[in-house]
Symmetry: C2
């Protein structure tokens, strides 16, 4: 096992009706600024409930944080907060709203330069406004970690940043809020969670036995509950399990002490920024082909994954088993309604070089757990994804 440090101070408040805990968690006298997305929080009535609950606080709000939240939009919120001195943020939404709120929380007190530097230079900012989360969409795990991905449209960049200062103080996870989600968002969320686990699991053996078992447990739960979530929109326990899986898939725990990959994510980010595909769609396109291309390097873990997660017969040959494990993965994404080929999204051969050029522009030329995913390898991966 590798050496590691792990800490996750976010308080999870999980279950039916937990919104009533909200005021107990925000310091009395705070000036609260609510952030939300494209309007679904309004439409479902959740935003109204939140505002009613916050009677007694001074409250402001900012809507319109888009999927793949942009620097351009977020800086508008930063200006308002600075001018009106809000001192507690509340994200009401999914990963994009939470990621955006993290950037805003770090940007408000960052007066020494352009807050984009936080992302561009991977600054480990030491101070940020405190914030809480009311989660509506289980997928990214942002509600229980200190990372965010921010897009800057004018330079076609979608880049991550991390800082302990941007752990949410609390996150309220009520599975009932997911009942009204469009099917596509459930599909995307399951695939996103699945691939978060795979990035931390499907590398090479490192004697992280608990980490492996936990990862496998998350994958098995997604495989069991994911398809049910598409059929049964109001099955509380199914939604509850998916919601908790999504948080645990990317809260730092399963990745502690083991190698991590993340090449799929980095390639996927470029596809989104260039061609506008959903985050989960890009991951579903890249991962199966990446596993195919890296089959030798990842062989030991592919076999373990095939046996423990897909229950493949022990007597299959190594080659058969690795191939079957990858096939099952691709089929699972397709079963969840997320297509796994570039062609499914109207993209062809001609997108490959621009994606690689973007990766190179962002310095991402040695990706993966061993830095073996070079531009040439990305070319093979994308060719297999056509």
């Amino acid at each position: 096992m590798q050496n590691f440090q792990f800490a996750n101070p976010t308080q999870i408040i999980f279950g039916k009706g937990q919104i009533e805990q909200l005021t107990a968690k925000i310091p009395v006298g705070s000036k609260v600024f609510i952030l939300y997305g494209g309007g679904s929080a309004q439409k479902t009535g959740l935003l109204g409930t939140v505002k009613d609950t916050l009677k007694g606080y001074q409250v402001g709000e900012f809507g319109g944080i888009e999927p793949n939240p942009t620097y351009e939009t977020l800086m508008k919120a930063v200006e308002i907060i600075r001018k009106e001195n809000y001192d507690f943020l509340l994200a009401v939404g999914g990963g994009s709203v939470i990621d955006g709120t993290k950037f805003i929380a770090a940007a408000v007190p960052y007066l020494q330069g352009d807050p984009w530097e936080i992302v561009r230079d991977w600054l480990d900012v030491k101070s940020a406004l405190p914030f809480g989360v009311v989660l509506t969409l289980p997928a990214t795990g942002s509600e229980m970690n200190d990372g965010a991905v921010i897009t800057r449209k004018e330079i076609q960049a979608k880049l991550p940043f991390m800082s302990k200062a941007v752990f949410p103080r609390f996150s309220i996870l009520d599975p009932i809020y997911t009942y009204t989600l469009p099917t596509k968002q459930i599909s995307n969320g399951v695939v996103d969670s699945f691939i978060h686990v795979m990035e931390q699991y499907l590398t090479y053996p490192a004697e992280g036995k608990v980490q492996d078992r936990f990862s496998e447990g998350l994958l098995l739960t997604l495989i069991e509950e994911g398809p049910k979530a598409l059929q049964e929109k109001e099955n509380y326990d199914v939604r509850a399990n998916l919601m908790w899986v999504a948080s645990l898939a990317l809260n730092g725990l399963i990745g502690s002490g083991v190698p991590q990959d993340w090449a799929t994510h980095m390639i996927g980010h470029e596809i989104t920024v260039l061609y506008g595909l959903d985050h989960a769609q890009t991951l579903a396109i890249v991962l199966p082909s990446l596993l195919e291309v890296m089959k030798e390097e990842k062989q030991a873990k592919l076999l373990q994954y095939g046996e423990r997660v897909w229950n493949l017969p022990k007597d299959m040959s190594v080659e058969e088993k690795a191939t079957a494990a990858i096939e099952r993965t691709r089929n699972f994404f397709e079963t969840m309604g997320v297509k796994t080929r570039l062609a499914d999204y109207g993209l062809g051969q001609d997108v490959i070089e621009p994606i690689i050029a973007n990766l190179e522009a962002h310095g991402m030329v040695e990706l993966g757990e061993k830095g073996l995913v070079t531009p040439a390898i990305v070319r093979s991966i994308l060719s297999k994804s056509l």
Copy 2:
């Protein structure tokens, strides 16, 4: 899934040589009071290393915290700390030293009465001295939770208390510190961890799918690595896995959102306080018999446990499978070198009523996940444990 709140702010610093992080984690200028146990920390040189590392801090120390730490001993440390104004505690040891340090941390600022009230009345104390941990013995999980068990000799009481104020600020977990442990402590630690998981897992189905998978992952790892740890004293990865399992077995995660039992622990505490057996020995005596007596109530989870953890054939009858699962459990404890019968420790029929009387005196008359473990049931359990 049940509603829950989960937060665990302890920072884990895991791996070889991590003691060098110590000074980065204790605020500059702190007056540090080191607490340790019966002398093994001195003998192995760890105490010396810690003190060398803390050059530059004002340091005091207090040794002799016993297994099942007593109020009587701990109050001596409280007096010194109050008199000499130490403001940061450092526990160097295993569960007993850490539990003792938690009590001390809460007792020092508790000036409104006798600090025993914290334990007696389950007070959720709001303030405590900050403290860190250097762990030497993986077993109780105390290094990553906010609970402690304190014994008061004069009234034959061994009672738990919990408070968010006594989460360790950090815990340094270096598997190499476990190389010098006596075999008995490794055996006890593995059994203790195993039963911590079982108390949160082997109840009734509650649609906590991830919690179940995580619990099963911890149990499988203990079964795989436990026996190796007895043979290979300096196998780093084996020790690393056991150390991380022990922390995860009782850090609040696997018990969130699911029913919990803890009857085995409550009965076990009385056996320790009356007859001086090691904590893990008492658990190994009680659990298999408890599962036997509660077989009907726990049937669904016993079958799941048998299949997923012990890999019992699907075609066994329900009765056979439940019985086999319990038998495997008992055999595992025996394989680990922890005997599972009262007679193995020279105890007979005559201990049963005193144990029950003690439970009744402590108000523990409806134990277990459904409150079904009454004194009459405890009598059956202990009769089966003879």
